[in-house]
Amino acid sequence: MVNARLERIRRLAIWVLLAAQLVAFSFLLPNFLTAGNLGNVIVNSAGLAIVAAAMTFVIILGCIDVSVGSMLGVLAWLTGWLTTTQDMPVVAVLGIVVATGALMGSLNGSIVAKGRMTAIIATLGMLFVWRSVLYGLWGGRDLFAPPLVPWLGGMRIGVVPVVGLIALAVFAVLASVAKRRRFGRDIYAVGNDRQAARLNGIPVDRRIIGAFALLGALVGLAAVMQMARVGVVQAFTGRDFELGVIAAVLIGGTSITGGRGSLSGTLGGVLFVAVLQNGIVLSGVPPLWNGVALGAFVLIAVGSDVLLERRSGQEVPA
């Protein structure tokens, strides 16, 4: 009873915060509440949203993937290279990039599951590896690609950006997997207790690899979307991308220790982060405050989670 209420409060908190933020910015910033601006917010954060959705699974597992930024860079380069030199149709490019992302992700997952390595260490290693690979590929010359199809970039139907709809669809599918499919249930179980999950016949290693592969695939989708929108790959493309993704998931209420969290929370977290960054830009505050605000909210989210758990008077397994 205490718990059910606690759970509800936690789930509601992010939406209350988001609403408060929207109201505050609407009053304070004259250019905020316009279809154009809000559309931009969505176009700019669609990639973050898609990757955060899959990252939610990985964090619920009790893992983390800090290499998604470097992966995004490499996959964006791959997208640019395929479109400029290979002259492929968009669908083929999309297929290849997503499949490559899935492979890169399952490599991370395999290191974690089979190599029995802590996820943060394994993926930190891969962060450097992929970044170096990108430096090598980039070779001192920025790669410019002709604009891909507009629907993966800034195109809108009426006032609604297409990429926003794509992100929403990804959330809907993953939320359904989390709640209604065995894969989702297994992810929660593994995050709660790996040993118990194994003793229940859950193929723990396969689930870990699967979740990382899904994340990689969606990083691929985000990379194609980024190229469609920006059209250029530089050495630092995707740098610090992982920080925004992880921050959004944590602010959305998913527990960094695993076992708890939801896709709807992450959606709230993504919107909150995106609106926050937009608000900071519009208000003319120096962008370095971006990081301060983001950091503060991560601390608040994780801190309040710890406090609430402690107050419920229960033993929380470490």
């Binding site: 009873m1 205490v2 718990n3 059910a4 759970e7 997997v177 209604r180 499919r181 065995r182 894969f183 249930r185 297994d186 929660y188 179980a189 995050g191 709660n192 207790d193 040993q195 118990a196 999950a197 194994r198 003793l199 229940n200 016949g201 859950i202 193929p203 396969r206 689930r207 699967g210 527990s255 076992g259 708890r260 107050r311 419920s312 008077g313 229960q314 033993e315 929380v316 397994p317």
Partner: protein, 533 residues
């Protein structure tokens, strides 16, 4: 007790209350402890024993009540503060610094230092040797890393640490639940020494132990003190009555069940099962409708038999037949599909999913049997399943959507049992199914096990609690050091026979032969793998 002790208790509690959210954990509890006595605190799970002890140990602060310790008001704000005042608690699962040596653990936070802050290892070592001599521990332990010791040794060292800190009151929270018989004896000997300079508060579920160590006992129920008794003679009935609030025939009702076992109906046949260094040529047969008890000291290989059947501990030899078909252990999923079910001994670490609901915990294994990771979960069917087992097993929960950790330990165990019953198993392996569970729920689980066997299920019961094992089992197999030592059949199985076989030449009332170099030989429970946890 001498008269002046009575006049001045070491510890006095008056009307101590504590509330967590909506739960009133303690209501107006009174307690007095005099120097040199052992006071047991009894109660079912959730009765408030642990909360009371944590108040004394400075973990929780009481909402109301008056505490005096050694003649002065006592209000510790942290465990360190409580230690400072002379109260030390040794928790159920020992807490320490596993990668440091025993010596470093003994002095952690209180290292002897020289003038420049350098640590005086030699002086500390000398002091520790003296301490170990005093408490009867082997000084060779001092250089071992704490994490490499057995649970029993760890606990003894934590008590020695309390000695060293000159504590006056020692709180032991179910210390023997993880100990073997030999370790328990050593613990009691140490408690005996402790009483020369302090008192002990002792939480336990085991009435036999109570008779062995305690002078007095108080009984808690629902956070209130409902009774006190002097430990004299056979007090088991009184204790059970006070703890549960009703009269109970715990085991008798189970023991009288009719045992009609079809001889031909072998559900599980193990022949020559071997796991290097763990199991050696183990053979046994389990029939449908039978409860086969598996007894042995910790490390004798009981759990390992279960784990190797499940594929968690791959056997190097032997054949297994399951329902007449050859069975090769590979993965847990395969084992479940073949009709094996395993309720693990460590509910917290291997059983429950703490952040998931009762419903999700209950359906976890059953869901696993449906093929395909993307198959849809039929939530209506899941709810029906949960509802059915919650009612059938009497799981006490406000809602099936509450987190499992809101339930008492007994109800959690019922959920785990239900999880496996839901898979419709052919062979059910229960590993310490009633460990750390209150008397009432224990009796319910006993009846449940007996009922399941009656319905034709084959049950392999692993239990360290001999009365329970004997009352429930049709036959008993005793393991020692990975080998089948004895197989017993029949209506009357003597406790002593079983114990003797389990202990081997190790001890048991003077039967040890003078020629066996018992002191140099590690006891059966040490060294052998119990490392799967």
């Amino acid at each position: 007790m001498e008269a002046h002790d009575r006049a001045e208790p070491l510890l006095r509690l008056r009307g101590v209350s504590k509330r967590f959210g909506h739960t009133q954990a303690l209501t107006g509890v009174d307690l007095e402890v005099h120097p040199g006595e052992v006071v047991a605190v009894l109660g079912e799970n959730g009765a408030g024993k642990s909360t009371l002890m944590k108040v004394l140990a400075g973990v929780h602060q009481p909402d109301a009540g008056e505490l005096t310790f050694a003649g002065a008001p006592y209000a510790p704000h942290s465990p360190a503060d409580a230690n400072e005042r002379g109260i030390v608690m040794v928790h159920q699962e020992p807490t320490f610094l596993p990668h440091l040596t025993v010596l470093q653990n003994l002095f952690a936070g209180r290292e002897l230092t020289g003038r420049l802050g350098g640590i005086r290892w030699r002086a500390m070592h000398g002091e520790a040797v003296e301490l170990f001599a005093r408490v009867g521990l082997d000084e060779a332990l001092l250089d071992r890393r704490m994490g490499t010791l057995s649970l029993g040794e760890q606990q003894l060292i934590l008590i020695a640490r309390a000695f060293h800190h000159d504590a006056k009151l020692l709180i032991l929270d179910e210390p023997t639940s993880i100990l073997t018989a030999t370790e328990t004896e050593r613990l009691f000997a140490l408690v005996e020494r402790w009483l020369q300079h302090g008192a002990v508060l002792y939480i336990t579920h085991r009435s036999r132990e109570l008779e062995q160590v305690a002078d007095r006992a108080i009984v808690l129920r629902d956070g209130r003190r409902v009774g006190a008794l002097v430990v004299e003679g056979d007090i088991e009935d009184d204790v059970v009555r006070l703890m549960s609030g009703r009269d109970l025939e715990v085991l008798a009702s189970v023991a009288t069940r009719s045992s009609t076992v079809a001889e031909e109906d072998v559900a599980l046949r193990i022949r020559g099962l071997a796991v290097p260094g763990v199991l050696d040529n183990v053979s046994l047969e389990l029939r449908r409708g039978e409860v086969l008890g598996l007894y042995g000291l910790v490390g004798a290989g009981r759990t390992e038999i279960a784990l190797s059947l499940l594929g968690e501990l791959p056997p190097s030899g032997g054949d297994v037949e399951l329902m007449g078909e050859p069975y090769v252990p590979s993965t847990m999923a395969h084992a479940v599909a073949c009709g094996l079910a395993y309720v693990p001994e460590d509910r917290k670490a291997m059983g429950i999913f703490p952040y998931l609901s009762v419903r999700e915990n209950l359906s976890a294994a059953e869901l696993g049997r449906r093929s395909g990771p993307l198959s849809i979960i039929d939530r209506a069917a899941e709810r029906r399943l949960a509802q059915r087992y919650i009612e059938e097993l009497g799981v006490k929960t406000a809602s099936m959507d509450d987190r499992i950790t809101t339930l008492s330990g007994g109800s959690q165990q019922k959920v785990i049992l239900a999880r496996w019953l839901a898979t419709d198993p052919k062979v059910l392996i229960l590993d310490e199914p009633t460990r750390g569970i209150d008397v009432t729920t224990k009796a319910e689980i006993h009846r449940l096990i007996a009922g399941l066997a009656e319905e034709g299920l084959a049950v392999l019961l692993i239990s360290s609690e001999l009365p329970e094992l004997l009352a429930l089992s049709d036959r008993v197999v005793v393991l020692r050091e990975g080998r089948v030592e004895l197989e017993l059949d029949g209506d009357v199985i003597e406790e002593e026979t079983v114990l003797r076989a389990a202990l081997g030449s190790d001890l048991v009332g003077g039967t040890r032969t003078a020629s066996s170099p018992a002191s140099s030989e590690p006891a059966a429970e040490e060294g052998t793998p119990d490392e799967h946890r």
